[in-house]
Symmetry: D2
Subunit: 338 residues, 4 copies
């Protein structure tokens, strides 16, 4: 079977397992007060060129929901794209961690929020005054549609948010893919554009299970630490989370993995008859006819239908461990099936 289902069907980079194995012996202070975690914090400060605080944890759902909850009261409103993972795929995790906030899913082309539409929706809610208190705008970078916001687009959305009393959250489950696609600096893609909290994902890009809540607004840190502990998201043996990040951020592993996955997606996209979204990261959305889909699947290629994007839509995801032969085999199968 050749697997284009998701980046989370892939395993983990050998470099990361080597680090975990190396640091497994001996005793270390638990719960995050260790040197490895401190080094990861410093490394992030270098990479993002600013002061910041971090909290490591194992899942993106936990990281998103916790960080949104630190910015949103139970009566708050959260504004996100209609496709957002936090709205569609987390079984109400933001509602649970905020303890009752309301999501406002907003349509927008290519999986992106647009500043004017966002402003209109927030203003309507704020004007009623009896629906929810506008509190948080959540962007996904790269988006669920496989596209990437430019720093200017991020800045425009963050300005809309801040002008209306909202903070800005970035779901970076595929942040590495966005970074290599964009070419912009990490700072320009995040805090310089107004992002208050980034969920810096590593899981989809070669870690075992590792996400980092990166707080550019350090005033959130104390409350978020409490929520992290209370939510059961604080590892006791923190070295095994921080160690993943140490390996991930060393020697540009994270950028190499993402660059490879993006290149594989671009190679696949080039052979597609009908793309449904611009391919700017590691995910390809295409339309195929049912007969082609069936034939290709018979040959052992795994991928998901994506009815959200219309009839015949499929999603093809390349991961850090996708090899060029797999892509070429799929292209050949598609060509043969038509």
């Amino acid at each position: 079977m050749t697997d284009f289902r998701s980046d989370n069907t892939h395993g983990a980079s050998p470099e990361i397992l080597e680090v975990l194995t190396r640091i497994a012996a001996g005793t270390i202070t638990s719960y995050g007060n260790d040197e490895i975690t401190a080094r990861v914090r410093e490394r992030c400060r270098e990479l993002f060129e600013t002061d910041l605080e971090i909290l490591p944890l194992a899942t993106g759902t936990g990281a998103n929901a916790l960080s949104i909850a630190a910015m949103t009261p139970p009566w708050g409103g959260i504004f996100c794209h209609d496709d957002a993972h936090i709205h569609r795929d987390e079984m109400g995790a933001p509602e649970f961690f905020t303890q009752g906030a309301k999501l406002f899913p907003i349509p927008g082309p290519h999986g992106k929020l647009e500043a004017a539409t966002l402003a209109g929706v927030i203003d309507d809610i704020a004007c009623e005054g009896r629906t929810a208190k506008p509190s948080c705008v959540s962007l996904t970078q790269a988006t669920e549609a496989g596209t990437v916001y430019t720093p200017d687009e991020v800045r425009a959305l963050c300005e809309v948010a801040h002008a209306r009393g909202c903070r800005a959250h970035m779901d970076g489950a595929r942040f590495a893919n966005a970074v290599v696609s964009s070419g912009a600096s990490l700072a320009d893609l995040t805090w310089r554009a107004g992002v208050d909290v980034l969920v810096f994902g590593a899981t989809k890009n070669g870690a075992l299970a590792a996400e980092l809540i990166v707080m550019f607004d350090k005033s959130l840190a104390e409350e978020l630490r409490t929520r992290w502990h209370r939510g059961g998201h604080r590892y006791s043996k923190m070295r095994f989370l921080s160690g993943q990040f140490e390996a991930y951020l060393a020697d540009d592993l994270w950028l190499r993995n993402a660059r490879h996955a993006n290149a594989m997606a671009a190679r696949l996209a080039a052979a597609m008859p009908e793309l449904l979204m611009p391919v700017e990261a590691n995910v390809v959305f295409a339309r195929l006819d049912p007969a082609t889909i069936a034939k290709v699947r018979e040959q052992g290629f795994l991928f998901y239908d994506w009815p959200l994007f219309g009839e015949g839509a499929v999603r093809l995801v390349c991961g850090f461990s996708t090899v060029v032969e797999e892509v070429d085999a799929l292209v050949a199968a598609l060509n043969g099936a038509r």
Copy 2:
């Protein structure tokens, strides 16, 4: 420094890291529908000699709170020992996951609940009818005091619970230490004695971060799966959780690790002037005079004061990677300091 602070300052067993490294390549179905997880489920059914369901996750706090929440409505009452981790150390995790239940901490000698006291407290609450609905009794095995319930003691407590409409939860953060200490079968220590859900911890005993919610009452499984996902506790790359358990439960690694830690604690206990609790697992509570404590710490021995157990009380924890030389060095230092 020689470290007797906690079993979670220890690292991970090489056998576990070898398995993780071996399974890291290739793609596998994500979110728990993989073969490794299926094998762990089967292995648990063998070990516990019964049908059951499992959910793997990374933290004991998450595992305890989720499983208690599946048995306790928001207006429920949870009955536990006054020392219980769920009451003292999880910053309200059970309250968060149950969305507002009330804990009733109950004193009892040697860190253990006693059946008659438990029955009295539940009956008082039930009779008022306006305080909380008795819903869950939580036992810790081994206890926070380093003692171990016998199967008969567990059965007596579970009978009190069930007769009053409560389900029984076992916090098994140190379950392996209790098993090797008790000599009883896993079945006798759990479901045959009436336990409905066990949190089967591996983290403190050689895993990186791995806990298993073991449901003997399978009717809880569907709701618990939803809570697990919504709580952000479901790994996407589940192989890296299940893989830890596969290694842990193979070749009796879990029993060997626990047996070693218990033996180290027994060796240490034998040299102690005043034990505060029977030493039945891997934790030693002793009283030392302040001058001794200070001198021993100066020589690089790390351990915690334990004021909960009185003035001069200290806690000394042995882990799977504690070596006999460390224990003997501490004994020598203590003898020298007096």
Copy 3:
């Protein structure tokens, strides 16, 4: 000033205050175990021609949120019209009482849900399986747009709900107005059409503050009683809630009040140049030009702009104590202003 702002700017019917005054002396069992409450329950069983349970409370927001919460888990989905009070005007009360459920607001003409649209939305959510568990459909009768569902329309929607594992909730803040408008029996408008719980409002129609949760599905009663108490919505001196209902349901006071308010609205509607919604209850939505609006307001007429229904939209509400001279004065002012 002549007030067409809302039915809740009106006071209370003299008949109701007379009853309250009459029952104010002497002691009576508190918290709802009194004879007045028992008589109201019996009266409801007669009126609705079926067995049922009731819980009286003071606010519609409380009544809606509590009853929805009894049908919806924290990870549940609630389906309602885009204009629904529970979505727009209660600052997240359903999210609070359900402890995190998700509302899916659905557009539909004339303030009404349509069965096919509703079915499509629920099916989409159910098919994803990772967004929310479809749990509750909420109808408003009379709607926020001042229209009234027929028994057939209610039945079609309840069938869609039940076929998809949802229960049906009816927000009857203006139920009396719907009843007199529809001419159908109470049974046909509610349980015979599939409604599981009705919030039977009296506040907007002449009570001081009195709503009744009417459970046709009595299996909800025990949990709902607990939620009612815990939510602070259980009066200790219940006689003063039940007494309002006793007066309200005696001698058809509730029908007389609603019939009058509806008639006043019809009289007003007849003089309107452009109605935005069919006028089937006591609320009139009309479009007026800005100059007219300004002139009429200058003469002391109070009413709200209603931007939700477009530019120039206004809402004019008649209550049980609106007098015909007030309506005619407004009509005259409007005619004079154009």
Copy 4:
């Protein structure tokens, strides 16, 4: 039957019903922006000799839980007497409204918290740092044991609270009874002694259902208004809540009612063989032998056993409408039964 069960089996003062009847006609701005509510706010400022904000609602459970929630995060600790209504009788309302805070019930003689004990409990919790964040101390005035805190006692407790980062809440369900018993000024009993929020109850002392959240710390007002609305505790026809307070606070009705109830309790207490608590308000706790209890009940006297205060304990409550003949009849019955 002669009823000494509770002050909430009593009805309502005629003066209050007269005011409600008088203000029932005509339209008034709803939801609290009316002149009656404004006048009640002014009256409170006079009575308490300070600036303050108010929120009227119908139940003490709602008022307590909402005001505590405005001072306590979901991971907060609430410290109260072991007998407190918020702990024993509200089915977890504070846990619900705070969304998961933890109550620490503390014993103390005569139903009163003692400063030194309180300080010890808070310090223990704060020192652990993993149990809860100390946030709120809740006093009951008059206490559940029918005793009354002096201004000095209140001040000592509030100082303990404030020095530890907690705010002070006063449950004043029987505040009027405490005021007339104490003789101190309202200011001395509340904000001058450090109380941040008072729940000023009227229901038990002659209102239909009316409680006032009185915020001496006005910074809580905005959030509390949102919680009040979202909790379904905001009357639309607010005149009927505020009107009760206008009557209650006019012509010293509230003081007259409380003075009468207290006098009746004192008269009853004087004839009791064994008092279990000092009788300082309108509640008498006494020990009676079972034969006496049975005989007196046979003669139609209603009152509750109070096992919390030991075997043979009974509670006898006098209300604003208890008449001297009822007290004397009970005394005679008791004397006859012995």
